[in-house]
């Protein structure tokens, strides 16, 4: 019998098995994204700053890969973000996170009722935050276009970058931030339990 492959609890070489480590992961992601936005805004409108800005969607897309945390603390493959579902189905990058791409695992990976409720609830919270972020951005763009204020165009551009990152990552970040630590596993296996009963 082939031994079961241990599930990975690492993402980008960072541990995500506990709630604390997941929160550090979320904060680290947003810190890196904020740093990139700050650098590009400062360097606007040079050509290399726009090339640097390309890193933001790449980083955010990579961050949006984990969509569900299993009861044992490992990550499942299918992301919550709709654009990446085909990629996950084809077994590309996302499947490497869980390292068990067989049929049984695929059934195990399906969303159950609790997963759906948590996913939808995270989207409700994310929607509220994105709406709040959208309103000042719309005001900034309106003012910038009204009197052609040149200093506001970088602000509007930065706002677009922030909104883009939120649009891609926020539901996943809320899930990672709020998911509780898994219950402690018992070391007893069915075989050992049967032996103990005898």
């Amino acid at each position: 019998m082939k031994p079961a492959t241990p599930r990975r609890r690492l993402l980008l070489f960072l541990p995500v098995g506990t709630r604390r480590s997941r929160r550090i992961f979320v904060l680290a992601h947003y810190a890196v994204a904020a740093g990139l936005i700050a650098i590009t805004t400062w360097a606007l409108p040079t050509r290399w700053s726009f090339l640097l800005l390309l890193l933001i969607p790449v980083l955010s897309l990579f961050f949006s890969l984990p969509g569900k945390i299993r009861p044992d603390g490992s990550l499942r493959s299918t992301p919550g973000f709709f654009l990446l579902r085909p990629a996950a189905r084809r077994g590309t990058t996302a499947l490497h996170l869980t390292n068990d791409g067989n049929a049984a695992a695929a059934i195990h990976d399906r969303f159950d009722e609790r997963d759906r409720a948590r996913r939808d609830s995270a989207h409700f919270v994310a929607h509220s935050y994105l709406t709040l972020a959208l309103i000042p951005f719309l005001v900034a763009v309106t003012v910038a276009y009204a009197d052609r204020s040149l200093w506001l165009f970088p602000v509007a551009f930065t706002g677009a970058s922030i909104l883009f990152i939120l649009a891609i990552t926020l539901p996943q970040a809320i899930l990672l931030w709020t998911e509780l630590d898994p219950a402690p596993e018992t070391s007893a296996t069915p075989t050992s339990l049967a032996g103990a009963a005898q």
Partner: protein, 209 residues
Amino acid sequence: MKTELRLFGRQIQVATKAGRRRLVALFYGAFAGLMLLSWFADATGHSASFWTAEFTILVSPLLGGYLSGWRTPFSAGLIKPFGGNELIRYSSTLSRNSILARIYPKPEDLQAIRNDERELNQRDRAHFLAWRVLSGLVMAAFLLDYLEGTKLHVLQSAGVSAHACQAAIFAILQIGYNLSLTLPAAIILWSEPDLDPDPADPALAGAAQ
């Protein structure tokens, strides 16, 4: 969800799915018409921004959800306030004084804003669906902004002027603003099956007699 809409003293029955879908189509049709007219009348888009804000704040309470409440005129909404349960939670933890009493609902208002478990699931599911549209709009705005902002002249070589690109970003944001506050309620109204009319309705009670 309410089964009738009270508008200027008239009662409009929206217990059927078809009736609610007509209402949603009318709402977005009016918004689209207003946007088109505004953009044709003023190519800078400022009129469209003004009318988008006005339409969203003044007309969206009819659908309910975000711009809904327990006081007139916000109590007209068909969908209960999305944050109603949070309001109840906050109000129960705060001491009552004259200012808070105006902000938070009174015990007799709770029925109008409290969401049960099914309504909460509906609300969250609608936001999950609406998120796709909203995030798609935001990403489209970012992409246009990026392509317009780069000095690589990608859009210019495709025959799109910088002004047209900025106008498109502006319009996308205006649509996004409206949809962010109305789309979840519209999704619920669109997808909810036929409801039984409210038995407490005096008109129906009279008809039954």
